[in-house]
Each structure stands twice: as structure tokens, then as C-alpha cells.
Amino acid sequence: MKGMTIIVKTVSSWVKVLIFLFGICIILTGHLTPGGGFAGGVILASSYVLLMLAFGREFAEENLPLAAASRLDCAGAIMFAAIAVLGFVWGGSFFFNYLYQIYLPGKALNLVSAGTIPLSNIAIGIKVGASLFLIIVMLSGFCQDYRCKVDFTKTKGEE
């Protein structure tokens, strides 16, 4: 999939950094302002989609390889499950908010407050962002026309 003209490439190389930063801001302050893990993760994925549309699919695959993205996906899911199981170990029940009740209580309306809620937001944001990046890159790598022949001798790691 080819990229676009040079004006689009120049402008989008500045704008995608701002979109990525906005996504991180929405994830980190998910317990104070509207937002949270899911919306922030989708914004992170859309900054990579902008990179892929402006520069072409091969450039985006060199930037973040597909194998690394699938490992990030699994790491986010394991982190979320680990936070939940640790709540069972240190408290009484699954998903017990141990950081707020026992170890690190902070005042409300500060950035460091609400215990495990910001950590869960970060885990979900990484997971959703990596998943959606994977699916959109796989969808655009498909043949545009049913008449093209697929080359099976080219290996590309895990696809």
C-alpha cells in the first residue's frame, strides 16, 4: 500500500506525535476527567493508523513490527489479570482495591489517588491500542483485487 504526497507526509509527521500524546493524557487522567483506558487506547491506535495511511504499510511495519505488537497485546492482558489476582491475595476478594485501602491512600482529586484504578487504565490502554493496530494493518495488507497471486515463498516471520 503506497503512501501519499509530500505535503501529507510532512504534516502528518508532526500531528501523529500530538495525537499520541493526547492519548497518553486521556489514559493517565482517567480517574479525574472523562476518558479512561478504552478511549485512550483507541486514540493510540489511531495515531499509528495515521502513520500507515500517510507513509505506506511497509514503513508502519518497520516502525512497530507485528510480532512486537502482539506481544504488547498479551502483556497488557496479563498485567490486568495480575492486578486482579493480587487483589485476591492481599485483600479478601477479587479486584480488591488494595492500594487505596491498605498501602497507599491518597487524597481525592490528586493525580496519585484511587489506588489500582490508574494502573488498570494503563494496562487496558496498552491492550486495546495494540489489538486495534494489529487488526487494521492485517486488513490493509490483503490483496486489493482477487486476481493477484500471493507469493508463498516469501517468509516474513509470523504474519
Binding site: 472523562p34 481525592a108 482529586l109 486488513l139 482477487y146
Partner: protein, 122 residues
């Protein structure tokens, strides 16, 4: 009356998913049904003159987390909003799965018409 119009949108999506022959049109009908259901759930939790469920520094009486009575009287329901947040993201995942099935079927049969795809082997 607003509830009835939202239900009418759900019925339009259901008609599209049952009657049409094109596979992508069926997927579009399912997406319209999802929008209607999410909108209906949020409309259930609204109250007249309500405020968003975000606590600001002016809504807390003291630093132990006690809220003013004015905020408790005017806050909209946060429970349907939590459920709809989950539902929107799941809708995106299932849309991706349906479209990938459509693309694979187009590759094999070269058509999107469901009355010409009769064999379901493997």
C-alpha cells in the same frame, strides 16, 4: 415519545438485516441496531436538569469524600454509562470479525450476494 423513536431506529436496522441480499448491507444493519441500543440505554439514565457524574472541587464538602446534597440531587445515573462503555468497544471488535469474514468470502466466491453462496463446507 423519544423512546419510541429510538425503537423505530432499531426496527429499521432489523429490517435491513433480514431483507437485504448484500452481505455488507447486513453488517451495516447490525451496526445501526447497536447504535440504537446504546442510545436507548443512556436515555434511561437521564434526569431533567442533571449534571455529568464527575466530581469537582466545588462538590466536595470536606476532604473525606463527603459530597454536597446539591450534587447528589442533580447527578445522572452512572451505572448505564458504565455498561454502554463496555458495549461500544465490543461492537468494534465484532465489526472487525464480521468484515474479515466478508472479505474472505469475497475472495473465494467473487460475490457478496448471499443467495449464490450455498455450499458451507469446512
Amino acid at each position: 415519545m423519544l423512546y419510541a423513536m429510538c425503537f423505530l431506529m432499531f426496527m429499521i436496522g432489523l429490517y435491513c438485516a433480514i431483507v437485504k441480499k448484500n452481505m455488507v448491507k447486513i453488517v451495516i444493519g447490525l451496526a445501526v441496531m447497536e447504535y440504537a441500543v446504546n442510545l436507548f440505554l443512556i436515555m434511561l439514565g437521564y434526569r431533567h436538569g442533571g449534571e455529568a457524574p464527575i466530581v469537582g472541587p466545588a462538590d466536595m464538602v470536606d476532604s473525606t469524600g463527603q459530597l454536597t446534597a446539591l450534587f447528589i440531587d442533580k447527578c445522572v445515573d452512572p451505572l448505564p454509562q458504565a455498561l454502554v462503555l463496555t458495549s461500544i468497544v465490543i461492537g468494534l471488535g465484532s465489526l472487525a470479525l464480521m468484515i474479515s469474514i466478508c472479505i474472505r468470502t469475497y475472495e473465494k466466491y467473487q460475490t457478496f450476494d448471499i443467495t449464490e453462496i450455498r455450499r458451507l463446507k469446512g
